[in-house]
């Protein structure tokens, strides 16, 4: 039993041990397997993190790229040139807004298409023919060409530059095209202005020269005008010398007229202090003997006047303006063809000018009084239009009339009045001269003579000025002080009442509206309760209201509108003080 038991045990125990070993190994392996899995998981999650990081970096780069692209587009769009990028197959890959505007096609529709796709009928070489640049890799600069656009044919200068990648391979072209029409227009304008300036300077110097000789000539001419008259008186009626002497006299008179014009030119630049109304000058000219004489000579021509009402006053020289109107009307009459009835129209009107009409010399924005003289005569050829203001330039039959200086006087006068001339003329249809004179808001000096100051001087009377505005009190005090009144002022109705409780005043000048506090009417009411016979006048910046009338009904005198002149306030004060007591 024992040995067999022992031998069985010998067989079983190693097996048990083996199983135990395997069991332990299995348990450990399981743990280790779990660790392994954890490790793999860590590795993979690290990888995931790395992928995430890379993705984030890529996204950052991408968004930076987007920002840069946007910046580039903004810069391209801000450029005045048309800018486009094309690939090697001629497809647009980028374009700026100017280019899109130029083709009148949205940028999104331009991208990806060739010029031919966009405009199949266009054969503009500057948008095609990129092969030279693509094959040579060299830029072609400054190509000049006229291009048809939706806005008409335009001159353009184009630069084509090869677009290269980092390795220097040509991957397309970049084009810069500049619309030259503005620049060409500006260039032309500059030339015109230079011509105009030259002309202006020429006329200036001729005018000076002419003026210089005029004084001397005038003295010399006295002989030609005065002596023939004397000679004619001495000669018998039938003397054969009478006609030649009459001719000498006529010539002398003509020469004198020329000298008069020269003098007018020479007197240019006199200061214009007169406030005038063109309507009055026109009317007085038309009524003048000179005009009447000329009109009767050319009776088939009818003069029509359309003078605008409320024409703004201008500041200037009446003599020059009258001469100007005369010269224009003379020319208008003379321009009428010999046959048929003609008509000359003089118009005046107001015009607000906010920009130069035809690029005339430096026109100021503002109100202008315009004098327009229109004829339906032979007209002036375009090539002559620029020269008509030059002295002695004429297309009229020489010697027929005039001094050759008429239009020069017109031009000079308008210059001196800081106005400008607009001439429209069509050969065979007639001409329109429009003279623009800057308006003034000052009243024309015509009218009643000023009343002498003695008529409203004070005699030392005491006046109280009631006004809430300090400047107004100061003005009133100063003006009335000059008129020999003893003036005191207060800033409110209540102050006025306080003042009048203590002192007397011969006259109170009441402002109607005073803020804050009681107004003029209320002040006057309360003043009357203290001093029932108080004299007062009302001064106000506002129109007469019900309250003004109420104050006057209570006894207040004249209503004076602010701002007032010395004369106005002086007369009103004097009248109230001189009024017999009620």
């Amino acid at each position: 039993m024992e040995p067999s038991h022992s031998s069985e045990e010998d067989r079983i125990r190693p097996l048990e041990t083996k199983i135990r070993h395997l069991q332990n190994e299995l348990d450990l392996t399981q743990t280790e397997y779990q660790n392994l899995i954890d490790n793999y998981f860590n590795i993979f999650s690290n990888m995931e993190k790395m992928v995430e990081e890379r993705t984030r970096e890529l996204n950052q780069v991408k968004s930076q790229l987007e920002v840069k692209t946007r910046e580039l587009q903004i810069m391209l769009d801000a450029s005045p040139a048309l800018i486009f990028y094309k690939d090697t197959r001629g497809r647009y890959i980028r374009a700026n807004r100017k280019f899109s505007d130029f083709l009148d096609i949205p940028i999104t529709e331009i991208i990806g298409k060739t010029h031919h796709d966009l405009l199949p009928d266009s054969n503009e070489p500057i948008f095609l023919n990129d092969e030279d640049v693509l094959s040579s890799g060299q830029p072609i600069l400054g190509q000049y060409s006229h291009v048809n656009t939706p806005a008409g044919r335009k001159p353009m200068i184009i630069d084509k530059i090869p677009n290269k990648d980092a390795r220097g391979n040509v991957i397309g072209i970049i084009g810069f095209a500049t619309d030259m029409s503005e620049q060409e227009r500006a260039q032309k304008e500059k030339l015109e202005l230079q011509e105009r300036l030259a002309r202006s300077q020429k006329m200036e110097s001729i005018g000076l020269l002419a003026g210089g000789v005029a004084h001397d000539l005038n003295n010399v001419l006295t002989g030609f005008v005065s002596y023939p008259e004397y000679l004619l008186m001495e000669l018998p009626e039938n003397s054969p010398l009478r006609d030649p002497i009459l001719t000498i006299q006529e010539s002398g008179k003509k020469a004198a007229a020329i000298v008069q014009d020269l003098l007018t030119l020479a007197r240019r630049g006199v200061t214009h202090t007169e406030v005038l109304n063109l309507n009055e000058i026109v009317t007085s000219y038309v009524a003048s003997p000179e005009h009447q004489r000329m009109a009767s000579d050319t009776s088939r021509v009818r003069l029509e006047m359309r003078l605008g009402g409320d024409l703004l006053n201008i500041k200037g020289s009446g003599v020059h303006l009258r001469k100007t109107i005369m010269n224009l009307v003379f020319n208008a009459f003379e321009s009428q063809s010999d046959e048929g009835q003609g008509q000359v129209v003089i118009r005046t009107f107001n015009r607000y000018v906010d920009k130069s009409l035809k690029g005339y010399d430096n026109v100021q924005e503002g109100d202008y009084a315009v004098l327009e003289v229109q004829d339906h005569g032979i007209g002036i050829a375009a090539e002559d239009l620029n020269r008509i203001f030059e002295p002695f330039y004429t297309r009229k039959a020489m010697g027929r009339s005039g001094t050759g200086l008429g239009m020069a006087v017109v031009w000079g006068t308008v210059q001196d009045h800081k106005g400008y001339i607009d001439v429209e003329s069509i050969v065979g249809e007639g001409s329109v001269f429009r003279l623009y004179f800057p308006a003034t808001r000052e009243a024309a000096s015509c009218g009643a003579d000023p009343i002498p100051i003695q008529a409203y001087m004070g005699r030392g009377e005491r006046i109280l000025v009631v006004d809430d505005i300090k400047e107004q009190r100061e003005i009133a005090t100063s003006l009335l002080g000059r008129l020999n009144y003893k003036v005191e002022s207060v800033a409110s109705g209540l102050d006025a009442l306080e003042y009048l409780k203590r002192k007397t005043s011969d006259l109170v000048i009441l402002d109607m509206i005073m803020e804050p506090g009681i107004d003029g009417l209320e002040t006057y009411r309360r003043i009357l309760s203290i001093r029932p016979k108080q004299r007062a006048i009302i001064a106000s910046g506002y129109s007469e209201t019900q309250r003004v009338h109420e104050a006057q009904r209570l006894g207040a005198g004249t209503y004076v509108r602010k701002p007032y002149m010395l004369e106005t306030i002086g007369l009103a004060v004097r009248r109230e003080l001189d009024r017999p007591a009620a």
């Binding site: 041990t17 135990r20 069991q23 332990n24 280790e32 660790n35 392994l36 860590n42 590795i43």
Partner: protein, 292 residues
Amino acid sequence: MKIPPKAIVPLNDLIDQVNRSNISTIGSVVARIIAVINNPDATAKELVEIILTDPPLAANVLRLVNSAYCAPKNKIADIQQAVIFIGFEALKELALNQKVCEIFKRNQNINGYSRARLWKHSVAVALFSKMIYRREFAQRGENAYAVGLLHDLGIIIEDQFQNEILTHILETASTRDIALVSAEREVLGYDHAQIGMALAENWKLPAEITMGIGYHHNPEQAPDACVPFTRVIHIANASCQKNDIGYCDATQQDEGLFNQCRQALNLEPHALDLIMQEVQQKLTEMEAEGVL
């Protein structure tokens, strides 16, 4: 052969000499691998970094991973892939194995002692002690494996720095038929276990490993906490020598100590036999694939 006393180097001086030699650089890598092994939170990434900073080690690891021993289907090109293929645990062992092996690589024969034999012995002790832990105690036993590889480090040090004296010691042990440690203590005043322990301390290896190396011949004298561990190493070392996987000092066996340890650990002789069989089998495989 009489050794003049002045040729005998004190233990501290010997350790200094070692630290000035290329062994110290190997030691620092070994210490780092052991640190990973002892840190439950360590990741494969840390181990991969250690291996990658040591190009000869990385090359060795890749060579082994790609050998027939592991037999991957596709060639493994980097350490990261190696982790996935053979696993973190296996890679720790492989890396440690390869690094310690660098210390043993020179092959010299002196009286039946050769480095190759010593290395095979070390691997065998490593496998044996690890298996005791795994099979008998159901524990990982990582440090047991490390100590197995390192327990006879002191002999290599003697060979490299005190070669003539080692020859003398081996002759002494052989002629007088005494244990190697006894001959060492007689000639040097210290033995190879003490050299190994001093070096392990110097490299700041974990205490268990230091004690395992220092007390593999006298496990009962280790600090109490380490005694079970030192007993396992002692049993593994003795078992390998009994089964002729050892070197010259195999002849001297203290059966009483062995059995005392075995009973204390509650290890049956047949259990040790089973483990021995597996160790033999494994060694055979390794030799066949040229891994040793």
